[in-house]
C-alpha cells in the first residue's frame, strides 16, 4: 500500500516538475515563466518530499522532509517577488497580450519609490 502511495506521489511530484519545465519554455514572458516555474516546481518538490515521508515513515525523516517543504514554501515566494519586481524595474517587457498594467508610471525611478493608490481609492479598470 505505501509503495503505491509513494509511487503515486513521486509521479505526481515529477509531473509538476515537468510542468514547470514546460512552463518556462512555453510561457510567453518572464513574469508568467516565473509564475509557473516557482509554483509548479515547489508543489512538485512538496509531493516528492511527501513520497519520501511516506516511504520511510520514520519520524526523523518525515520531519526533515517537512522541513524541506517548509523552507521551499518560505523562500520561493520571496524570491519570485524579488525576481518579478527586478524584471519589471529592469524593463523586461510584458507579453504583448497583457491587459492592464497598474504599475505603469507608479515607480518613481529617481527616488526609488513606489506610489500607492490610497486606501479608499477605488481604482478604475
Amino acid at each position: 500500500m505505501t509503495e503505491i502511495v509513494t509511487a503515486v506521489l513521486m509521479l505526481l511530484g515529477a509531473s509538476f516538475m515537468l510542468l514547470s519545465g514546460v512552463g518556462v519554455i512555453r510561457m510567453p514572458d518572464v513574469y508568467m515563466r516565473l509564475q509557473v516555474a516557482s509554483k509548479a516546481s515547489s508543489l512538485g518538490a512538496g509531493c516528492l518530499m511527501a513520497a519520501v515521508a511516506v516511504h520511510y515513515a520514520e519520524l526523523g525523516i518525515v520531519a526533515r522532509a517537512m522541513l524541506v517543504v517548509t523552507f521551499i514554501f518560505l523562500t520561493t515566494p520571496v524570491s519570485a517577488h524579488l525576481i518579478g519586481r527586478a524584471a519589471y524595474l529592469t524593463g523586461v517587457q510584458l507579453w504583448d497580450r497583457t491587459g492592464d498594467d497598474d504599475l505603469e508610471g507608479a515607480y518613481d525611478r529617481e527616488a526609488g519609490t513606489l506610489r500607492g493608490r490610497g486606501r479608499d481609492d477605488a481604482p478604475g479598470g
Binding site: F71, L74, T75, P77, V78, H81, L82, R85, G112, T113
Partner: protein, 137 residues
C-alpha cells in the same frame, strides 16, 4: 530599497538558518555536515540579512567583529591541535574526554569538535568579512 517582504521573511528564516548551521556543525562527525557546511550556512544567513536589511544591521545582529571571528577560529583550530602536542600524542592528534550523562548514556567530547568549531568560526568570519565589505562598496 528592500521593500517589506524580504526583511520580514528574513526574520523568520534567520533563526532557522542559524539553527540548521549549528546542527550541521555538531553532527558533522557522524552525518553529512561539519564545520565548513555549518559555517557556510551561517554565513549565508547573515549575507541574506545584510541584503535584506543592510550591512550595519547585520553587523549589529552578529555582535562580534568578523575579523575577530577569524582570529578566534584560527587560534581555536590551532589550539585544538596543540592539545595533543602538549599532551604528548602529537600535533593534531585527537584527544578525547570520556563522560557519561546522568542517565548513563556515554557522552564524549574530543578536540576534533574543537577543531571543527575553529573551522566554523573561520568560515563565518572570513565569508562575512568578504560579503560585508563588498556590500558596503
Amino acid at each position: 530599497m528592500s521593500g517589506i517582504i524580504l526583511p520580514t521573511a528574513t526574520k523568520v528564516l534567520l533563526p532557522l538558518l542559524l539553527l540548521f548551521s549549528l546542527f550541521l556543525l555538531l553532527r558533522g562527525h557522524d552525518e553529512p555536515g561539519g564545520g565548513f557546511a555549518g559555517g557556510l550556512v551561517a554565513s549565508a544567513a547573515f549575507a541574506l540579512l545584510a541584503t535584506a536589511s543592510g550591512v550595519p544591521n547585520a553587523r549589529r545582529v552578529l555582535h562580534v567583529d568578523t575579523r575577530t571571528l577569524i582570529g578566534v577560529g584560527l587560534a581555536l583550530a590551532l589550539a585544538s591541535g596543540l592539545v595533543g602536542l602538549v599532551g604528548g600524542s602529537g600535533f593534531l592528534a585527537s584527544v578525547w574526554l570520556d563522560l557519561a550523562l546522568p542517565d548513563g548514556t556515554p557522552f564524549y567530547a574530543g578536540t576534533t569538535l574543537l577543531f571543527d568549531l575553529g573551522v566554523y568560526l573561520v568560515v563565518v568570519g572570513s565569508v562575512l568579512t568578504i560579503v560585508f565589505a563588498l556590500e558596503e562598496e
